[in-house]
Amino acid sequence: MSLVRGSAAAARPAWLPHFGQYPAPLYLGIGIVGAIFLLAVFAPLVAPFDPIAQNLDVKLQGPSFAYPFGTDNFGRDILSRVIWGARVDLQIGLIGVVFPFLIGTSIGAVAGYAGGVVDAIAMRVVDVVLAFPFLVLMLAIIAILQPGLGSFYIAMALVGWVSYARLIRAQVLVLISADYVLAARSLGYSHGRVLFRHILPNAITGSIVFSMSDVVLVVLNGAAISYLGLGVQPPTAEWGIMIAEGQNFITTAWWITAFPGFAIVVMALGFSLLADGLGELLGVRE
């Protein structure tokens, strides 16, 4: 009996999760996001055609065996463009979240820890930024810079940090009176060390879970801004632009707009599930 048990343990290492150990949305989310990530990385190998090469002999063809998602008005393969688009949109989601996360977490942590005037000023700035509709302020910033992906990231960082600042500040205000913080201060550790080595690691969980669901909003925003013509520029394959380009052909070629939209929905669903599963696992309630 013990022998059988031993061999089972040997076949299944302890670090390998068994089914049901983690929340189901987590598996699904990791599966979807992982698949998109692999598609993006291996796009040159997976995509059957060049995403921007025009082939006017096969323009506006419906879904077929050769072109599963059909072709657009330049004869470009929609499937290949959707696969290559994963590269751009995944990048939008990740970079568009990383900078607001870092900036917001730093400002919020320092404001909450320092308190007083620093906190008051930071929070008034947060109030003002929040008074603007998110997309409107982003568009206004992009108007000043110039349309493009770089401007999108800058605008995203300038507008998106406020949610992270609020989240982390609230956590820091709770943890600041914890015994271990007092202990660390009594040991003579500097404020910086206490804040970034002791408080922040305990305060950050909620922000990490939020950042996963924030990816959904960032991707939708990025695609919307590209759709408006103010983000990623043609002929790059990006889902938002593809939808905009297909809008002229809705009466004859629905597939040009339909498939990139489905891709956005799948990616959004993946990150939503990931956020839900992660939140459940870490015991974070939104």
Binding site: R124, V125, D127, V128, V129, L130, A131, F132, P133, F134, L135, V136, L137, L139, A140, I141, I142, A143, I144, P147, V216, L220, N221, A223, A224, Y227, L228, G229, L230, G240, I243, G246, Q247, I250, T251, W254, T257, A258, P260, G261, I264, V265, M267, A268, L269, S272, D276
Partner: protein, 314 residues
């Protein structure tokens, strides 16, 4: 009814003053950050020397930046927001002309979203754990991930191109036509919005159905229908109203995009066109109007909450 609960209606606007100042500072700084001569930036490349002289004097463009901000505030107070380069009329008039479709779109979307969300949430809460509940929860999770501009085009393909029920784009001349044009745009925004509200309403309805006052009403023999309408719904709707107010910024962002999809001549379309034509006075003013509207809506939501719930003290 005690009026002192409404005292915040007088005091809250004072607390909003710093935020409004902040909004004016951001909109002022936004345009001053554009490289080049501000007079040229504001008037475009085809401006006459006289016009440039005039705007220099009006906005104090030769003065230090702090003084320029005061000039900006003075002009703002006088309702002087400058002229649009593209339309060659005062921006304020332009905003006034464009505000109606946007208001109708936002208002219609909110009403339609509530009309969708309340029955769905009630159905889910009443059938907790059953297939109907799971289906509605799936809708509220997946609904957030649908890009509104794409959903709009899919709805156009289905309802306008295939079924020929609604116009593809534009805005009508008389009221009947305008409402007809606004059905699809409102429905698009409402679908995304109702996903958010349904989730929230369902949770509060489940809590209310299990609450002590609902149990007490049941014990008195009150019908489930009456319990729902008199006890559950009013209590569950309050957090939903606040949720709507919190999401007003998101809602306005959504209408900006939807107006562009359907070519509705509202503020959002004005903003996007202003960006393309470098009509910075327009961009600045529309951003400011939207920000002030957001602040105002949150203030109105507070009044609504106090009016609906006698327990709330602000």
């Amino acid at each position: 009814m005690s009026l002192h609960r409404y005292r915040f209606v007088l005091t809250r606007p004072l607390q909003l003053v710093p935020v409004l100042f902040g909004i004016s500072i951001i909109t002022f700084v936004l345009v001053r950050l554009i490289p080049g001569d501000p007079a040229r930036v504001l008037l475009g490349t085809k401006a006459t020397p006289e016009a440039i002289e005039r705007i220099r004097a009006q906005f104090g463009l030769d003065e230090p930046i702090l003084l320029q901000y005061l000039y900006f505030l003075k002009n703002l107070g006088a309702g002087e927001l400058g002229n649009s380069i593209l339309y060659k009329i005062p921006v304020l008039r332009l905003v006034g002309e464009r505000i109606e479709p946007t208001l109708l779109l936002v208002g219609g979307s909110v009403l339609l979203a509530l009309a969708l969300a309340i029955p769905l949430a009630a159905l889910a809460a009443g059938n907790r754990g059953r297939p109907a509940d799971h289906a509605i929860r799936l809708f509220s999770t997946a609904g957030l991930g649908f890009p509104p501009f794409w959903l709009a085009i899919m709805l156009i393909i289905l309802f306008s191109v295939k079924l020929d029920l609604f116009p593809v784009a534009g805005y009508g001349d008389d009221w009947a036509e305008r409402l007809h044009h606004l059905v699809l745009p409102c429905f698009t925004v409402a679908l995304a919005l109702s996903a958010v509200i349904t989730r929230n309403l369902r949770a509060s309805m489940i809590a209310e159905l299990a609450s002590d006052h609902a149990t007490a009403a049941r014990a008195r023999g009150v019908s489930e229908r009456r319990i729902f309408w008199r006890h559950v719904l009013p209590n569950a709707v309050i957090p939903a109203i606040n949720l709507l107010a919190v999401n007003i910024g998101w809602l306005i962002g959504g209408t900006v995009v939807i107006e562009s999809v359907f070519s509705i001549p509202g503020l959002g379309q004005l903003l996007v066109r202003g960006i393309f034509t470098r009509d910075y006075m327009v961009v600045q003013s529309v951003a400011m109007v939207f920000a002030c509207a957001t602040v105002l809506v949150n203030f109105l939501a507070d009044i609504c909450t106090v009016a609906i719930d006698p327990r709330v003290q602000l």
